[in-house]
Symmetry: C2
Subunit: 341 residues, 2 copies
DNA sequence: CTGTTAGCGCATTCAT
DNA sequence: ATGAATGCGCTAACAG
């Protein structure tokens, strides 16, 4: 392995001089700079990032953590897109990404803590938040630099989120405008902040349109087609009337479609359905599904940008910035009763 | 930050002793071991992985690289699943994963090389291979430990692959069995080894069933619905007759479905369609799409296992092991002319 | 502008 | 079984 010493020798300077040209110090004569650079090239020298990290006590690598529980998620392209976004700016700003996929929130918490304490990462991007999020609480109390993709329900933190409330509200109103009377909210895990926010938006729309809201209108399900199906079946059995469904995820929405088929109920004529995430194949299901498109790539991008800014200028970190990324309702047949738009 | 010295002091031993109990050395009296362990806990000590890496000259982190070009790919859950698989064994064996997403093969090559030379990673998992793959060639000549997910067209390397040839063969035969006469191969980038292997399987089936094969039967497209659509339209315009399509990807297959719809051609009656990857929503498109299910999770898992084994026992690395993961044809309506199975 | 010195936190000889 | 000494490769005062 070729080290800084080898370069120094070849350029007939001291190691510190080499270190300086690597760091791009200005107080170096053009002469020696050139000589050193040449030596580096001739020797094919690449600085050892580990040694560097040890000396400077930071690593230029960012952790990205996913609690695999919250992931229908990891099965849909959402995370891939987030990663692409993060990667783009990481690349541009010369950072690396360390991936941490964990089966449970507990393991996630321990793993992240360890990564930090081991000094493997300088900061963290967290991808899902629950109501009393252990990870976030720990991160705060340990003063670990991080940004959340999503929203923190408890303490304000640096975060970039999509406008779930607004999006759910628009989607619901869209259904009302299409003439649906009783919209059900078909949500995922109640403890996820996303679910809560979407529910809030839904309620808000109900309120604005002066539609009755009842606890029974919120039905909870896992993020799966089967679960969505089952939830609606259960709702019907309990005698809850409805002619539309706002699903907090496309899989759930698909479950609603399945349900409709099973009870010979026409979509969109007798049942309107809207999903979340705008999964790629959605235009090809039958009927094509209306869905809220979320800009996952942008979420990842902004999150990384925010974190790196914070890391590089700790002073600015005082204000707990919260970035909001707008989403878009992609209207397709499954919610178009009036054939309009 | 609490270091090994702090622990040493508190346990009234030397730093090297602490280092030994961390490493699990046997030549340590139970007494002192206990004392040290207690001190570590009391101080909440976690070894600095960077310092450790520098001293031992390896990092216990593995790079995972994706050339974003080959990725329809990154848009479908394939990569997510691969990562989950990798992550599972990494976690179990106490390794970390460094993510590298690159826009082009060239940048990918440079980035990976750099990660290695910077000593950030001990080894690499590569996710797509092309015909004269620059990355792989470089990796070999630089003697960098890596395993390929896929197959190397040029030199034998450590790899874990799914049985593309066999899978394509079975899928094609399935179409023949269903009574289709002229099946077209709708492939992605010709330079991808996957494409080639699937084409080989397709040809093999043609040969076995004594069907004519012509270069014109292989049509190339990007990994997108539109491109698949366009490719079939072009084929028809060129007067190539066909009544079935084996698509090397689900998106392409969907393009075929679109095409069929546009020319009022019934699927599966007048056109049989089979895809690859078994994307989650496929059962819900119309008609439900037959597709080859690939065990991406297993691919990632085996790849990581293989790489770590190699890293930890360099001796075994001599034989260029190639693991094959079987896939499964999931038959749905889009290819079921005879209503059988 | 450049060289010298002293760590960064840990692992690993070599003694004892 | 344990301690002292040295080095991993680089950065960062401190001199000059």
């Amino acid at each position: 392995m070729v080290t800084i010493k080898d370069v120094a020798k070849r350029a007939s300077v001291s190691p510190s001089t080499v270190s300086r040209v690597i760091a791009g110090s200005t107080r170096i004569s053009l002469q020696t700079r050139l000589r050193v650079q040449q030596a580096m090239e001739e020797l094919n020298y690449v600085p050892n990032a580990i040694a560097r990290s040890l000396a400077r006590s930071h690593t230029r690598t960012i952790g990205f953590t996913v609690a695999r529980q919250a992931d229908d998620a990891f099965a849909n392209p959402f995370f891939s897109e987030v990663m692409r976004g993060m990667s783009t700016v990481a690349q541009a700003r010369d950072y690396n990404i360390l991936l941490s996929i964990n089966p449970t929130p507990e393991e996630e918490r321990d793993k992240c803590l360890r990564l930090i304490k081991e000094r493997r990462i300088d900061g963290l991007i967290v991808s899902t938040s629950r109501v009393k999020d252990q990870l976030i609480a720990t991160l705060i109390s340990e003063q670990i630099p991080f940004v959340l993709i999503g929203r923190s329900a408890d303490t304000p933190v640096l975060s970039v989120n999509n406008d779930n409330v607004q999006a759910a509200r628009s989607a619901t109103i869209h259904l009302f405008e299409q003439g649906y009377e009783r919209v059900l909210f078909l949500g995922g895990d109640r403890n996820l902040v996303v679910t809560q926010d979407r529910l809030t938006g839904y309620k808000q729309a109900c309120f604005e349109w002066q539609r009755a809201y009842d606890e029974a209108f919120m039905i909870e399900a896992d993020f799966s087609i089967e679960s969505g199906f089952a939830a609606l079946e259960a709702a019907r059995e309990r005698g809850i009337p409805f002619d539309a469904v706002l699903a907090a995820d496309d899989l759930l929405a698909l479950g609603a479609l399945q349900y409709a088929k099973s009870v010979h109920c026409q979509v969109p004529e007798q049942l309107g359905v809207v999903g979340f995430n705008d999964s790629p194949l959605l235009s090809y299901v039958n009927p094509p599904l209306t869905s809220v498109k979320i800009l996952a790539y942008e979420l990842g991008l902004e999150a990384m940008e925010l974190l790196l800014d914070t890391l590089e200028q700790p002073a600015k970190a005082r204000t707990k910035k919260e970035i909001l990324i707008p989403s878009e309702l992609v209207v397709r047949a499954s919610s178009l009763r009036k054939g309009m738009k």
